[in-house]
């Protein structure tokens, strides 16, 4: 990646363990490092249990990281206190869009109160008129009818609810948004609507996205760079096109070979590549840049073969 790009998020040796010291200890995120640059969309893909959502949740500090650093605009945010003023400031700058548009909106709140909650918490509006005006603006931005601001979530479809979730995230003018599987729960015809909307808003507002997903074709479409996660580790990280045209890690190859393509001829000739976990992970491996901009989880001997 070009040196002149400015990192908005730098994750350094992040570990997120659960049930530490108990027999059921889980190393959900196990020593992960990467940068996210201003204005880009960083895709994080992996299968269930790979640690991709946990990574997102640790970055936005829904969890207290076990160890490692998370730098946001150059400041370490991995240890700031949960309820202090620093956290409040940080929460304004980083927002999240959740997977399930049914579970992530409070059914007892009106849409305008859901969207304006952040405005209230951060004292961004002076009075009700200003508050309503801002909510209207936001609804308009996500192509929802501002007249519907007094309705409740159940009156909206899945795609519309996800737009409400996006409006809520945008309300506090964040710089960085983590979208955790924002379209997985939506129908195919609605997915494209939401993805197009997210891209338009990104262009207008110069936002940076981290897009977490298991739908690999959509991730490739929306992301500038992609990291592939497996068992708590990033096994490969590169430009979106590069990772699809030249996958290096056997797990990435296996994952790509499993994507169903809506084309019968391609499907007829598809060769599935199996991935053997045991033969692929051993000591002495780390994520290293083997080709400029292309990172691979491997040992030094393997890395030397690319020189």
């Amino acid at each position: 990646m070009a040196e002149d790009k400015e990192a908005i998020v730098q994750v350094k040796h992040l570990k997120q363990y659960f049930n530490i010291g108990k027999p059921n200890e889980v190393k959900a995120v196990d020593d992960v490092s990467f940068n996210i640059y201003k204005g880009e969309t960083f895709g994080l893909v992996g299968e269930s249990g790979s640690g991709k959502s946990t990574t997102g949740r640790s970055i936005i500090r829904l969890y207290d990281p076990t160890s490692g650093q998370i730098m946001f605009n150059g400041k370490d945010i991995s240890k700031i206190k949960s309820h202090g003023p620093q956290m409040k400031k940080f929460r304004r700058e980083m927002q999240m869009i959740f997977q399930d548009p049914y579970a992530s909106l409070n059914p007892r709140m009106k849409v305008k109160d859901i969207i304006a909650e952040g405005l209230d918490v951060h004292g961004l509006v002076k009075n009700d008129d200003e508050r309503d005006k801002r909510v209207r603006e936001l609804l308009d931005m996500v192509h929802l009818n501002p007249e519907h601001m007094t309705r409740y979530p159940y009156e909206f479809s899945g795609g519309q609810r996800q737009r409400i979730g996006i409006a809520r995230a945008l309300a506090v003018d964040p710089q960085f948004i983590i979208a955790d599987e924002p379209i997985s729960a939506l129908d195919v015809s609605i997915q494209a609507q939401v993805v197009n909307l997210m891209q338009d808003i990104q262009k207008e507002q110069g936002l940076t996205y981290m897009f977490i997903a298991h739908d690999l074709s959509m991730v490739k479409y929306i992301s500038d760079r992609i990291a592939v996660m497996y068992q708590g580790k990033i096994v490969e990280l590169a430009d979106a096109d590069e990772i699809y045209s030249h996958p290096l890690h056997p797990y990435t190859k296996s994952l790509l070979s499993a994507i169903p393509v809506p084309d019968p001829e391609i499907e007829k000739t598809r060769q599935r590549i199996d991935f053997d976990h045991k033969s692929s992970f051993h000591k002495g491996q780390k994520l290293q840049e083997v080709i400029p901009g292309h990172f691979l989880y491997c040992d030094d001997t393997k890395a030397a073969t690319f020189k």
Binding site: V188, S189, I190, Q193, V195, S217, K220, Y221, D224, P264
Partner: protein, 347 residues
């Protein structure tokens, strides 16, 4: 080929608090021995209700108020409850979407797989358990003999779906209905399950009705495809016809709103605007018309009949009427047409 199942003019209504939902509004299709028919559609399009009607596994407020479902020429809708019990899980069986909820958590998997055989009273318990073990091996559960005594929670999601499949095929059904069997699974596991279904189909000759919203999965498994929208089929044909020569604007929209691996970020995705209609009060004309950029006046007034494109390929859109103006489909679809030409030339 032998038609083993024929569904004719199926209508299903649901009585709800808000009124009558016309969930299925006249569906016709048939199934031949050993083939795979995929029914594609979005949530609420009626694909699950269509196949659940075959086995009469509908909610209490459902009413199949019109139509026939002929299985080897006999109308399943006229069968008694007891007769249906004999068909379900025996001649026609079903795999459900969620492997977490379709297994009994308190029963060993060996017993669960053997259960259909015991219920249909054909074999001794010992024989049934022997057969269960054999089928578990067939679906790829390692060490089936030892694992017969384990409970569902001791298996991974992919393994549980294999067990669900084992239950469905233990009696070598003639028809297997798979309702989104891979939607809850990771892509690598999904690929394994699809390969397994294809392999089993070859071994035991079962016909499969496969329901999904994922066109990628359809391309890999189907012989024939039916596209469903708002309680009706809008297009059906062979897998090549529907993927390379689609004619209904809804099929165009579905195929075009998915990025392929060579869609670049500079292209805007072609989204289908709006949302599906409310089936409490279905539209008078073509239900897709309000979301259809190619819609004509007649689409709003009158439902299009099926127009024949080939012996096997039909689509319900007024665009196929001889008097309709010629329209230019989206770019991605034109590329598919080119492929269809090449396929035709090579044949």
């Amino acid at each position: 080929m032998d038609k083993i199942l024929e569904v004719k003019d199926l209508h299903v209504n649901f009585a709800t608090y808000n009124g009558t939902v016309q969930a299925i509004r006249g569906v016709n299709f048939d199934l031949s021995a050993g083939e795979t028919l995929a029914i594609v559609g979005e949530s609420g399009s009626g694909k699950s209700i269509t196949v659940r009607s075959i086995l009469q596994l509908l909610a209490k407020n459902a009413d199949i108020n019109k139509g026939t479902i002929l299985y080897h020429g006999e109308d399943l809708l006229k069968k008694s409850k007891k007769e249906m019990d004999n068909i379900r899980g025996n001649k026609i069986s079903m795999i459900f979407q969620d492997p977490m909820t379709s297994l009994d958590p308190t029963m060993t998997i060996g017993k669960q797989v053997a259960e259909p055989l015991l219920i249909h009273n054909k074999v001794s318990k010992k024989e049934a358990l022997g057969r269960a073990e054999e089928v578990l091996r067939l679906v790829g559960i390692p060490n089936p003999k030892e694992r017969m005594n384990d409970y569902p929670h001791q298996f991974s999601g992919g393994q549980r779906q294999r067990i669900v499949i084992a239950i469905a095929i233990v009696d070598y059904p003639e028809i297997l209905i798979a309702d989104e069997p891979t939607t809850a699974l990771d892509v690598t596991v999904q690929a394994q399950i699809i390969d397994l279904l294809k392999e089993l189909q070859q071994k035991i000759g079962t016909a499969i009705i496969f329901i999904t919203h994922d066109l990628g999965v359809v391309a890999g498994i189907a012989d024939r495809v039916a596209v469903m929208y708002a309680g009706k089929f809008v297009e059906y044909g062979s897998v090549d016809e529907v993927f390379y020569n689609p004619q209904h604007p809804y099929t165009w929209g579905l195929l075009d709103s998915m990025p392929t691996l060579d869609t670049s970020e500079d292209d805007h995705l072609n989204s289908i605007p709006g949302t599906p209609p409310n089936l409490l009060d279905p539209p008078k004309g073509d239900a897709f018309a309000p979301r259809n950029e190619y819609a004509m006046q007649i689409d709003l007034e009158e439902q299009p009949p099926f127009f024949k494109i080939s012996k096997t390929h039909y689509a319900a859109t007024w665009l196929l009427h001889p008097d309709a103006p010629k329209v230019t489909p989206p770019k991605g679809i034109q590329k598919r047409f080119e492929k269809f030409k090449k396929l035709g030339d090579s044949k």
